[in-house]
């Protein structure tokens, strides 16, 4: 009864073209955003630092990869490296120009990974599918090699690691060891909301339609005057921009410092799994995927010992760890069997059922 389409008439094309046509959806979205901000003041620092910040960072990276793989249909295994480009660019920029606010540099660093991403996207005109994945794998290895071998990238720091310098906004530390999880969470949340909104605008307009056209039927798209190379490169650039910003946020807002190997191939796979399980071609799916892959193991790690202890079964920490892997793996397979199109499709089906509930006829 709460969720109904009936009675909501669209009288202009502008309102009919809105991204959330249902009043209930809009209300729900606003409530979720308010709840997310409220969490900064209600949650403890473990929840913010170890759960929410990384969840948001991975959601952003998933949105990036989803634009490329989900919307445009180009498989990429270079996500980790593109995140790295963002992080290293951000480091160089904020140490070279410490006077400019670091938030500016986080946004600017994305442009560097966008440029690198577009460069490595060039083969996509000729090759598709798994072959393209292998071509992007080259980006992954080459860029990671650069991170290790070019000490200039870390300002000749002997440890070879990136570290977050202290930076402030209006006198409040937002980066570095003195920044509280609360301020960092608020900053990351705001950046993710803004970028998600922009991505949603893009995919619902002309550019999004061109991307989907290339994905669904590239020959027909070309015969309608859509330039394949430009469209694909734009997807690579936008996708890498998001990954780059996510990489910068990951190192400087979550870890506080990192070495080159956080941008390895595992990171690429990790984000790819999130996109596949969340739902290809869905922005909300990116959040679901990140939640399932990142938050569920943490929840299991807490819940499992609590579940087992009443039965007198005491298990070691390492057993819990193994169990966690097994359960997460089984759940991933379960979700993929139940709904091969990802959690976003489940969500959609759920909403459609709710529209007609409780009289589905």
């Amino acid at each position: 009864m709460l969720y109904r389409e009936a009675g909501q008439f669209k009288t202009t094309y502008v309102s009919d073209a809105s991204i959330f046509p249902l009043r209930e959806d809009r209300t729900g979205l606003i409530l979720i955003i308010i709840a997310a901000y409220a969490l900064a003041f209600l949650g403890n620092s473990f929840l913010l630092q170890a759960v929410m910040i990384p969840f948001l960072v991975f959601s952003l990276a998933s949105i990036g990869l989803n634009i490329l793989t989900g919307y445009t249909g180009l498989l990429s295994l270079g996500t980790g490296a593109f995140m790295g480009v963002g992080a290293y660019a951000c480091y160089k920029l904020m140490t070279a120009f410490p006077g400019v606010n670091v938030i500016v540099w986080i946004f600017v660093s994305g442009f560097f990974s966008a440029a690198i991403g577009a460069l490595f996207g060039l083969p996509s005109l000729r090759i598709k599918g798994f072959y393209l994945a292998v071509a992007t794998l080259a980006a992954q290895f080459f860029l990671q090699w650069c991170f290790i071998r070019i000490p200039w990238l870390v300002n000749y720091n002997v440890s070879g690691a990136l570290d977050a310098p202290l930076r402030t906004l209006f006198g409040i530390p937002i980066m570095g060891p003195n920044a509280t999880p609360q301020t960092r969470y608020l900053l990351v949340l705001t950046i993710v909301i803004v970028l998600t909104w922009l991505a949603s605008n893009l995919v619902h307009g002309r550019i999004g339609r061109m991307w989907i056209a290339i994905r669904d039927m590239d020959l027909a798209a070309e015969l309608m005057g859509i330039r394949p190379l430009q469209t694909k490169l734009l997807a690579f650039a936008v996708s890498s921009y998001y990954c780059g910003v996510a990489g910068a946020l990951m190192v400087f807002m979550w870890y506080g410092g990192a070495e080159y190997d956080v941008f390895n191939i595992n990171q690429s796979f990790f984000v790819l799994f999130m996109v596949i399980i969340g739902g290809l071609g869905s922005l909300i799916g990116s959040f679901f995927g990140a939640a399932l892959i990142f938050i569920m193991p943490i929840v299991l790690g807490i819940v499992l010992p609590a579940l087992l202890s009443p039965f007198g079964i005491s298990v070691g920490a390492d057993t819990i760890e193994h169990l966690r892997f097994m359960i997460v793996g089984a759940l991933i397979i379960f979700f993929l069997i139940v709904e091969p199109h990802g959690l976003a499709r489940l969500w959609q089906i759920g909403k459609q059922k709710l529209l007609v509930w409780p009289f589905p006829y």
């Binding site: 307009g205 002309r206 989907i212 039927m217 798209a221 015969l223 005057g225 859509i226």
Partner: protein, 266 residues
């Protein structure tokens, strides 16, 4: 004063001329020395038995293939080697033998995607979905709604096209091609696999497009009744060669055409 790039053509002028076109893939010759023309505002049918090279001919016209020999002149300008999207931007639209819609998109979005080349607002406004981007979206939506009304597909406006029955998919595909406001519309078997009623509807749409908008149409079709009723002129291909060219009545009486379709007694 510089001459306009595209001379204004009036009805009956040659819009597209195919001159001595041959097309080979390795040893296989798909087309051999084919010449014909398509005049402004006419309905031109290309017929022939299976494997005669009809679809290859269309593929040459919209830039998928480049003829190994011969040339194609469009709007009085001899065409250089080009990519399909350039042909599309030049005003050639096309539908496919096997429906080639964007399956996950709705009918509306499919036809809107056909307007992509007409849309101009830049990336910045697209990011904010505001100002010129939204204005443009609404303007083109109006045009698309006209096409939807014309093709009588209002009820499936928001349905993903992958779920539609075949006949409707063909209709949406025609709508998507019309959204490009083409000068030359190529239809590859627009009525394949349709029942009589759907064929009648489709024929009506083709005639109306031709008469209302003056769109030049070249179509490939196997249903001889449809071809003879719709088209102004017919070109007949067999084994990659042109065997007849003329009005439906002339072609019908041509002995080589009869032989090609019915076979020759040996």
């Amino acid at each position: 004063m510089r001459a306009p790039d595209h001379p204004v053509l009036s009805k009956g002028d040659v819009l597209l001329a195919v001159e001595n076109v041959s097309l080979g893939f390795g040893g296989v010759k798909a087309l051999t020395d084919v010449s014909f023309d398509i005049r402004k505002s006419e309905i031109r049918a290309i017929i022939g038995p299976n494997g005669a090279g009809k679809t290859s001919m269309l593929n040459c016209i919209n830039g998928f293939y480049y003829p190994t020999e011969g040339s194609i002149t469009f709007r009085g300008i001899k065409r250089p080697k080009m990519r399909p999207y350039e042909a599309a931007r030049g005003g050639i639209a096309r539908t496919f033998q096997n429906v080639a819609l964007f399956k996950s998109m709705s009918t509306l979005d499919n036809i809107m995607a056909g307007r992509s080349i007409k849309m101009r607002s830049n990336f910045f406004w697209q990011l904010f979905r505001h100002g010129p981007a939204m204005k443009e979206e609404v303007e083109h939506r109006k045009f698309v709604e006209e096409i939807i009304d014309f093709l009588e597909i209002q009820h499936i406006r928001k349905t993903p096209v992958g779920r539609l029955p075949y006949g409707l998919q063909k209709r949406v595909e025609l709508g998507r091609a019309l959204a490009m406001e083409p000068d030359l519309l190529l239809l590859d078997e627009p009525m394949a696999g349709m029942n009589l009623e759907e064929k009648e509807d489709m024929s009506r749409f083709i005639l109306e497009v031709n008469q209302q908008y003056g769109t030049t149409i070249a179509l490939i079709e196997h249903d001889m009744g449809v071809v003879m009723d719709l088209s102004d002129r017919v070109v007949v291909l067999e084994y990659g060669r042109k065997i007849a060219d003329g009005t439906p009545d002339e072609v019908k009486r041509d002995q080589r055409v009869i032989d090609a379709y019915l076979g020759v007694a040996h």
